[in-house]
């Protein structure tokens, strides 16, 4: 059965990389919302060329497994960045680019294509009457956006954002393929050093489970808070 001593030992070993993993997940999550909003705006406002680019990009990301996209980025991003820095005559060696950066780029691009749909849907769910009402009260478009539309759209999008965060959290477990150390990679390293594989993976699974439970609880609380305000 499980070796308890190793289990407790692993628990604290793996716990030490949880903050790092969560921080990475938060970074990617915020970036994906920003890029997703950009994509949603491009689609909503029918920006000519950009719209086709976004559609093609979404098509590609929807069909490609994340790990394949991570590898494509891992092998092509340094030369792409190198090409641009070369054009601008910058003295920057793109081959030294950190795998963490590559992981951030790959995962946030993939998740953003799903975020775009969430964001589009939640803004469309706010009725047009709300915008008209704000306008009749003399709100500027920015005020209306900030005070009337965003709070209502956020309530709609919050459960989706919660699960998107968990998707990100799970997705960065693939970082071990390009040598990024997160919960799963740390578990693998510990397991390789003492060859107690079962214990390490069970502890890692419990960590993810705990984070997921926490996120579900927090989004639930925040959602009821937002609902009570609107």
């Amino acid at each position: 059965m499980l070796n308890m001593e190793i289990l407790v030992d692993n628990f604290f070993g793996i716990l030490s990389v949880v903050p790092q993993t969560v921080a990475l997940a938060i970074t990617i999550f915020i970036l994906s919302i920003l890029i997703g909003t950009g994509m949603a705006l491009v689609q909503e406002y029918n920006v000519p060329v950009l719209k086709q680019v976004v559609l093609l990009f979404k098509l590609f990301l929807r069909g490609t497994p994340l790990i394949v996209f991570i590898f494509i980025m891992y092998y092509s991003l340094p030369s792409i960045i190198g090409y641009f820095t070369g054009l601008m005559n910058l003295d920057y060696n793109a081959n030294n680019i950190s795998p963490v950066v590559i992981l951030i780029v790959a995962v946030s691009l993939t998740v953003s294509s799903f975020q775009a749909e969430t964001i589009r849907g939640s803004f469309l769910s706010v009725s047009y009457g709300q915008i008209e009402a704000a306008r009749s009260l003399g709100y500027t478009p920015f005020q209306a956006f900030k005070r009337i539309i965003t709070p209502q759209a956020l309530v709609e999008a919050l459960p989706e954002f919660g699960s998107a965060f968990l998707v990100v959290m799970k997705a960065i477990s693939l970082g071990f393929m390009i040598t990024v150390v997160d919960i799963f990679a740390e578990a693998r390293l510990i397991a390789a050093s003492n060859s107690y594989y079962v214990e390490a993976f069970v502890v890692a699974a419990l960590m993810y489970w705990g984070v997921a439970a926490l996120v579900v609880k927090l989004t639930g609380k925040y959602e009821s808070y937002l609902v009570s305000r609107t």
Partner: protein, 236 residues
């Protein structure tokens, strides 16, 4: 070292494609069965078993699939060994199918349960009042109405499953991704991007074929959908 041409890479990858497809097909079918059984237990409110289904679906949804793969591959043999079941010779392919089945089944439970609950209560009562046996009621009345509701969610789950089969090479299965890694490693960085773009293309084709299939099903089963008790469309 000779660098293979694009067509050579494509044929090298397609040589092992059947392994990916077998894993995909087996776990899709078995996962659907498992999901159906778990849903049945869940909606019938069978005491202890119901709690187990809740734990399974929460676990499969919260833990990265790569860890689920590793747990099944490394933890299951010693765990079953405690009960005198010897599976130490379990191959990586079998472990992959098992892990993906559990994952797909646990995921589908949520989809199927919501779809089952979406069938109007009056439909159950009507069937009962007509003296249908429970089996007859399920297959003639409830199931046809559950399917169109469940299809979009099932399609999404299927796409997730297709994408997640790309991870089984981490257990040492020699599937498309395993072969791709091999080609990328052996060509001294010459055509890594090319290899993975081809892998991406293969997955995109499979994803959109399955997406199209699900949409076709959706069209075919549309006629079973009822708007409400009163505004029933022509049900054949």
């Amino acid at each position: 070292m000779v660098t293979p041409s694009t067509w050579e890479i494509v044929s090298l990858l397609l040589d092992v494609a059947h392994i990916t497809f077998i894993i995909l097909l087996a776990s899709a079918v078995l996962g659907l069965l498992l999901g159906a059984v778990l849903t049945m237990i869940n909606v019938k409110n069978i005491p202890v078993l119901k709690q187990i289904t809740v734990v399974i679906s929460s676990f499969t949804r919260s833990v990265p699939i790569i860890i689920q793969l590793f747990i099944v591959y490394y933890a299951l043999p010693p765990l079953l060994g405690n009960f005198g079941i010897n599976v130490t010779s379990m191959s990586a392919t079998v472990a992959a199918i098992l892990a993906l089945t559990l994952y797909h089944g646990g995921y589908l439970t949520e989809v199927l349960r919501a779809a089952y609950k979406a069938v109007d209560k009056g439909q159950h009562e009507a069937a009962d009042s007509l003296g249908y046996t429970p089996t007859k009621k399920f297959f003639r009345i409830i199931l046809p109405q559950t399917v169109p509701v469940a299809l979009p969610g099932w399609g999404n789950a299927l796409i997730h499953l297709i994408h997640d089969t790309s991870l089984v090479f981490a257990l040492g299965v020699a599937d498309i991704m395993g072969r791709a890694e091999l080609i990328a490693a052996s060509s001294f960085g010459m055509n890594q991007v090319q290899v993975f773009l081809i892998v991406a293309a293969i997955y995109i084709v499979v994803t959109f074929l399955s997406d199209g299939m699900v949409r076709l099903f959706e069209k075919k089963t549309q006629k079973f959908k009822l708007d409400s008790g009163l505004k029933a469309k022509r049900v054949a």
